[in-house]
């Protein structure tokens, strides 16, 4: 229970459904602020109190679990390390993978609980008992509220993890959840959603990374290799970024420039026009299959390449231990480190971490015949 409206309503629904529910607030910050100062940031002392009060109203026991050290090690440090490598991480995904459905789940199971229930917007269906041995676990699908759907950050979870998860909100829209919260007398009904990175309360990721990594000046080059500007840390950029380049003078053709490549070893950031962002083939590692066996043959699907991104029609196939994805139409802003989540309509097939694209000139690339 984060102190937000989603987890509060999820807990209430689970309790009403007859489950023996205990509310747990995760203390994830090494130095929690006292007050929630806006829509960014989470897990302040005020949030803990909101969660406690929601538990009171629902009528369930409430505890605070200190996961600050694990969160720092598994999520915050990974976030920083990924940027240092020139990747774009998704910390919410990492938190689900390592904290909520690992550290927390493990502790819960050891203490006699059966599952972790969260307020994520997603649908989970268990396989029918008649399902044969090919059935590989629960199936994950998008929430009915497409704008709020969080299946993207849950697709990294394994069958074991999903078999011990509950997402009571998947069949409701965000509006419905807020109305229900109000009807239940939960004060958090009106609380704004938190967005962006929960551990960067002022939203200034670049400043946060500079604080962690220090200044690492380098050059900004165009596609021809000519220097067009400089920067004080390649970690401050992400593929497809247009704002904040601070080049100071427009491109010769007057059109906006976008970050095409980031190479931390040399500190080089390459920029160019929008069409240079086009990606058609993607290479990804460590695929996880969600409630279905790994595909024996190339599979047509939809692939989502960032949180709340478009679902692109594509074909995906296994390539050794990794995954290859060919988009049917080019996409832009595809960044290493992000997840590629495969869908069959609204149902998740699997997820893998993007390691390269055909746009990235430096990667040794060949697509299969």
């Amino acid at each position: 229970m984060s102190g937000g409206v989603d987890s509060a309503v999820a807990a209430a629904r689970a309790a009403d459904a007859g489950h023996d529910v205990t509310g747990v607030h995760l203390a994830l910050s090494m130095n929690p602020a006292s007050y929630r100062t806006g829509a960014r940031g989470c897990c302040t002392l005020e949030d803990a109190r909101d969660a406690r009060r929601a538990a009171d109203v629902i009528g369930i026991p409430f505890y605070v679990w200190d996961m600050a050290q694990r969160f720092h090690d598994d999520v915050v440090r990974d976030f920083v390390d990924e940027y240092a490598r020139g990747n774009t991480p998704n910390p919410c995904l990492r938190c689900n993978e390592k904290i909520k459905f690992a550290a927390v789940l493990d502790r819960a199971v050891a203490l006699g609980f059966d599952a972790v229930c969260t307020g994520h917007h997603a649908r989970l269906t268990r396989p029918a008992s008649s399902a044969g041995p090919e059935s590989a676990g629960p199936r994950l699908a998008r929430s009915v509220d497409q704008a709020k759907d969080q299946s993207y950050v849950l697709a990294v979870l394994t069958s074991d993890q999903l078999s011990r998860a509950m997402f009571p909100l998947g069949g409701s829209t965000k509006d419905e959840v807020r109305h229900e919260a109000a009807a239940r007398g939960l004060a958090v009904a009106d609380k704004p959603d938190s967005h962006d990175v929960c551990f960067i309360a002022d939203g200034d990721t670049r400043k946060f990374l500079r604080g962690q990594l220090g200044a690492a000046p380098g050059q900004i080059l165009d596609e021809a290799g000519a220097a067009v500007g400089s920067h004080d840390g390649s970690y401050g950029f992400t593929i497809g970024q247009r704002r904040g380049l601070r080049i100071g003078h427009p491109a010769p053709d007057g059109r906006p420039r976008y970050v095409l490549d980031i190479e931390p070893a040399s500190g080089t950031v390459t920029v160019g026009p929008a069409e240079s962002l086009d990606v058609t083939e993607i290479e990804a590692e460590r695929p996880v299959w969600t409630g279905c066996p790994p595909p024996a043959a190339p599979v047509d699907c939809l692939v989502q390449l960032r949180a709340h991104g478009t679902a692109h029609p594509a074909t995906a196939w296994l390539d050794g231990a990794g995954l290859r994805i060919r988009l049917h139409e080019p996409a832009r802003g595809v960044a290493r480190g992000q997840a590629a989540v495969l869908y069959d309509a609204d149902t998740v097939l699997g997820s893998a971490t993007i390691t390269g694209t055909d746009r990235a000139a430096a990667s040794a690339w060949s697509s299969p015949a």
Partner: protein, 405 residues
């Protein structure tokens, strides 16, 4: 849509059938509750000069006399406060300021490293903001300060000590301090000595005159009285600088309208606990010793922290470290079985920090985190001990599975 499910019919989190956390707070004695309820229905500000005021004032003064007599003090030596924390703040800050204002040389505050946060944090604050120098008197492995240690610390520069503060009995591990000897050492050097007697009152013979202390803190809710009423017993002549300024109540030492209902209930509880104290101490010690035996039988590698059971330990206190467990996991598991106890450490937002008391006793971090305090009081029975004995083994097993993730 209505949600009749909210809170109704669910297991109420508030009702634990087995309450083993008397060191945190105690159920109100029925007599105290009745006295308070009656007084709540009455009118009058005890500072008013008219009929209603005098009636209320009389309730307060009778209460003062009862409390004074129970604790070896004169009525004029009882200063009512909102509780133990306020009394500790008044003693530590107020006596420091008084001494330091009179003589700037008086800067050092000697306090035991295992004091309650109400003393500890007050001392730290004085060091950070008021020019004090905090000197922490070390405790031994049982959590006890020795008079020799206090003397040694004083003698480093006797003319610079503003105040010495050592609690009567430790709230976490129950170790009883040699208060009379410590007070005597301080008196030799003419240094005021304060003792937080919040946990000791009601179980041990706490006395201002008897101990030779300059100031003692006591409170109501640890002895069957209400939360919200406590007292600083203060020798005549010890004039702390007030923390609360205002209407000049309590001889200007502590302004604020006196809470007659709470004070009356406090006095009632003091009176009853004084009468029953010796028998109660024996009864609790027997139950507590049985509790220790049952826990050790179920978890043979559990370690009892603090002084051995006997005159140097609070009769109602038991405190264990359970190797391989986290105390807060154990607490949750016992709570789910209706058994209430405490990890005994201070919390911020409900997240337990390792106990500074255990760390001061030389315990390592892991053991400090794997500890639980069980404390008995006036409503404790053999059934409470039996229930814990039956539950602790399995709880420890489960908590061990949950560790190290």
């Amino acid at each position: 849509m209505k949600y009749p499910g909210n809170a109704s019919g669910r297991r109420s989190a508030a009702e634990n059938a087995v309450y083993l956390d008397h060191a945190a707070t105690t159920p109100m004695l029925p007599e105290a509750l009745a006295a308070m309820t009656e007084e709540l229905g009455q009118l009058g500000n005890p500072s008013s000069l008219h009929n209603q005021g005098r009636r209320a004032r009389r309730v307060v003064e009778e209460s003062r006399e009862q409390i004074a007599e129970a604790y070896g003090a004169r009525p004029s030596e009882v200063v009512f406060t909102s509780g133990g924390t306020e009394a500790d703040n008044l003693a530590v800050k107020g006596l420091f300021w008084a001494r330091h204002d009179a003589e700037p040389e008086f800067r050092r505050v000697l306090a035991a490293s295992a004091e309650h946060h109400a003393v500890l944090d007050s001392v730290k604050w004085l060091a950070e903001h008021e020019g004090a120098e905090a000197c922490w008197l070390p405790v031994d492995a049982t959590g006890t300060v020795s008079p020799a240690t206090a003397r040694e610390f004083i003698e480093r520069d006797p003319g610079s000590v503003a105040l010495v503060s050592v609690m009567w009995a430790n709230n976490e591990v129950g170790s009883v301090q040699p208060v009379a000897e410590l007070a005597a050492v301080a008196r030799e050097y003419e240094i005021p000595f304060h003792s937080d007697a919040v946990q000791a009152a009601g179980q041990l013979p706490v006395s201002l005159a008897g101990s030779g202390a300059t100031a003692l803190t006591v409170t109501g809710h640890k002895i069957g009285g209400p939360v919200g009423a406590g007292a600083l017993l203060l020798c005549r002549g010890a004039d702390p600088v007030p923390i609360l300024h205002g209407g000049g109540q309590e001889r200007d030492v502590r302004s604020g309208t006196l809470d007659a209902p709470a004070i009356r209930a406090f006095a009632t509880a003091v009176e009853i606990s004084r009468m029953r104290r010796d028998d109660e101490a024996k009864r609790l010690a027997a139950l507590r010793d049985d509790l220790i035996a049952r826990v050790l039988a179920a978890v043979p590698d559990a370690v009892l922290n603090g002084s051995p059971p006997g005159p140097d330990r609070l009769p109602g206190n038991a405190h264990f470290s359970f190797p391989g467990c986290e105390g807060d996991a154990l607490l949750m598991l016992l709570d789910a079985k209706g058994i209430a106890c405490s990890t005994g450490s201070a919390c911020t937002a409900g997240v337990a920090q390792p106990s500074h008391v255990l760390l001061a006793m030389g315990t390592d971090d892991a053991r400090a985190r794997g500890s639980l305090r069980f404390s008995l009081g006036h409503s404790s029975t053999q059934q409470d001990v039996d229930a814990l004995g039956a539950a602790i083994g399995e709880a420890v097993q489960r908590a061990r599975r949950a560790t190290g993730r």
